[in-house]
């Protein structure tokens, strides 16, 4: 793929404000979708603020793509309403919703050149030629594909095709951009670059609301302002990205959004004024960020692998001891797997002590209370 990055342009920036003014928030109001008796999306109530990137993530069949397709107008809700801005779009056909959509396989029209693909939406809407020419130039410039305007899609790489697909969606100045697993067909290296470029693109178009459906938590964490985690047709958690990652409300979220060590604990002292509770795991008394746990509650203490250290310091006041089972060196990171009283605990470290313990050795692990989160033991969702 070429190393050209997305470059925001002035016309795009000016329009961003216009888009925000037009009301680009999305509101799901108890939206459910069913195929016959099979409910694929249970009543969903969710807001996406203007200019926000909401990533919907979840395993296959969790209902995330169905939710996106309901916004696009390709599936009809069995109940509930969908509003974009002030407009109730539930009964509007897809072509009247004012959206842009990018799909996994790009879906560039193979019989049209790049410039005609980008112009497609504007021509379909009857825009005049001068406006079409200006918008096509602008959109291709934004995604760094101006030099490829006369090419056919088959003459482009996967990453280039995806840029054109994004340009095509942006050219119609959509109120909301729907991205349905847009990077899944790309290989890992190009995907990483494209995630960064989409993030740059959004910075240059701050008014553009994006609903981003993916099963890749890295894409979601990198791009999204907020994340909704879907499971079995329901949202099992929704909130600001950093908040969800740092303080997952349930086990599924903790494990789906990044790696998590979940240590079973019993709460000894409920949350105090600083937001920390005390809990016991075996002989270890640990301090962790809590919510409304009561003394005696069974909980899970969530610690991310990168927050565990083999060395103590003034912040890493919690200490547990485990038996080293495996060491996996992966270049930038080394992963250690330990057994802490029957619970597998993973440590990801960039720096390790010079004398690494042998497998079977007892190894102390240290972590900071601020890097933990207590969550209910029994609730999967």
């Amino acid at each position: 793929m070429s190393a050209v990055a997305f470059t925001g342009t002035s016309v795009m920036d000016i329009d961003a404000a216009k888009v925000r003014g037009a009301g680009s928030n999305v509101h799901f109001d108890k939206v459910s979708v069913a195929y016959g008796a099979h409910v694929v999306l249970h009543p969903l109530t969710l807001d996406i603020a203007p200019g926000e990137i909401l990533a919907m993530i979840g395993p296959s069949g969790s209902g995330k793509t169905t939710a996106l397709r309901a916004v696009a107008g390709f599936v009809r809700p069995a109940s509930g309403r969908i509003r974009i801005g002030a407009t109730d779009v539930t009964d509007l056909p897809p072509y009247e919703r004012g959206l842009g959509m990018v799909v996994q396989n790009y879906a560039l029209f193979p019989h049209m050149r790049v410039e005609d693909n980008v112009a497609f939406g504007l021509r379909a809407q009857g825009a005049d030629k001068a406006l079409i020419a200006e918008r096509v130039k602008d959109a291709l410039g934004t995604v760094g594909m101006s030099a490829f305007a006369r090419r056919y899609p088959r003459e482009l790489s996967g990453g280039q095709q995806q840029r054109v697909a994004i340009a095509r969606a942006l050219a119609v100045r959509p109120r909301v951009l729907l991205l349905d697993e847009p990077l899944s067909a790309l290989d890992a290296q190009i995907r990483r670059n494209m995630v960064e470029e989409i993030a740059r693109l959004h910075r240059s178009l701050p008014g553009l609301t994006i609903l981003y459906v993916t099963h890749d938590q890295t894409e979601a964490l990198t791009l999204a302002d907020k994340i909704a985690i879907m499971r079995d047709g329901r949202v099992c958690s929704h909130g600001p990205t950093t908040e969800l990652y740092r303080r997952p409300p349930n086990r599924f979220t903790a494990e789906f959004l990044g790696r998590a060590n979940l240590l079973p604990v019993t709460v000894e002292e409920p949350v105090g004024s600083k937001g920390f509770a005390t809990a016991r795991h075996g002989d270890a008394v640990l301090t962790g960020a809590g919510r409304d746990e009561k003394a005696g509650d069974k909980s899970l203490l969530c610690i991310r692998p990168q927050h565990l250290s083999l060395t103590a310091d003034s912040e890493h006041t919690n200490r547990i001891v485990g038996t080293l089972r495996e060491v996996h060196w992966q270049g930038e990171l080394t992963h250690l797997v330990l057994d802490v009283d029957g619970t597998p605990v993973r440590v990801s470290a960039t720096k390790l002590p010079t004398a690494l313990p042998e497998p079977g050795a007892r190894v102390p692990l240290f972590f900071a209370p601020a890097d933990t989160s207590l969550l209910p033991e029994d609730a999967g969702v």
Binding site: G73, R97, L99, P110, H111, F120, G121, Y152
Partner: protein, 265 residues
Amino acid sequence: MLVWSRPGRIVLWVLFALIFGVLFLAPLAVILLSSLADQWNGVLPNGLTTEHYADVVKGAAWNSVKASLITGFLASALALVSGTWAALSLRLQGDALKQLLGLLFFIPSAVPSVSVGLGLLVAFSHPPLLLNGTVAIVMIAHFVLISAFTFGNVSAGLARLSPDFEQVASSLGARPAYRLWHVTLPLLAPYLVAAFGLSFALSMGELGATVMVYPPGWVTLPVSIFSLTDRGDIFAGAALTMILVVATLVLLLGLERVTARATGS
């Protein structure tokens, strides 16, 4: 299956040459030689001449070429439009209805063409549907016989067409008619051309139903060939057959080139 041994490959090539030569090339070669034969009393013609072609072009048989081409074009075009329409419409129906209507569309292809001709003759020989003795009944016979193939071809094309193309087009603001004309049909173009080509080839060679319904003055090439050979004029029949083959091939090759240029492949 890959054959790695040299003797095995030679045996297979010989087998292929025999089957292809005897079943495909030999009949065509005999027809070609017959169309050019002055007289043919031995293993090979006694002499070669283009007289049969000249006779065919000058005589009433030339009208057969026109009748066949016009019938083939119109019936194929009609079958293409209705087959495409049916395939596009059925796509939106439930599975049960789709299967039932799809089956109905294929029924004429399972009925002997003579029976189709007879059925049309009986059905359209009384007012108010009195089409017996008109060109229209020939068109209808050809349309009935070939429409199943156009429907089948276009349905196969639609099944391979990712719904993403049309959905993305809709999300960009394309109304159904615009989407159909600018996205769906161009993406289906190779299948449409293949469907038209197959329909045209079938129509050009259709005899069973045509011979039951053709009116005076609209004698198609296969009917003329049948009449000539039935009367014993084998050489003229062969010349007419070669004209039929060449006309069909030229048209099909032309269509293929047009498609290749349009789709950029």
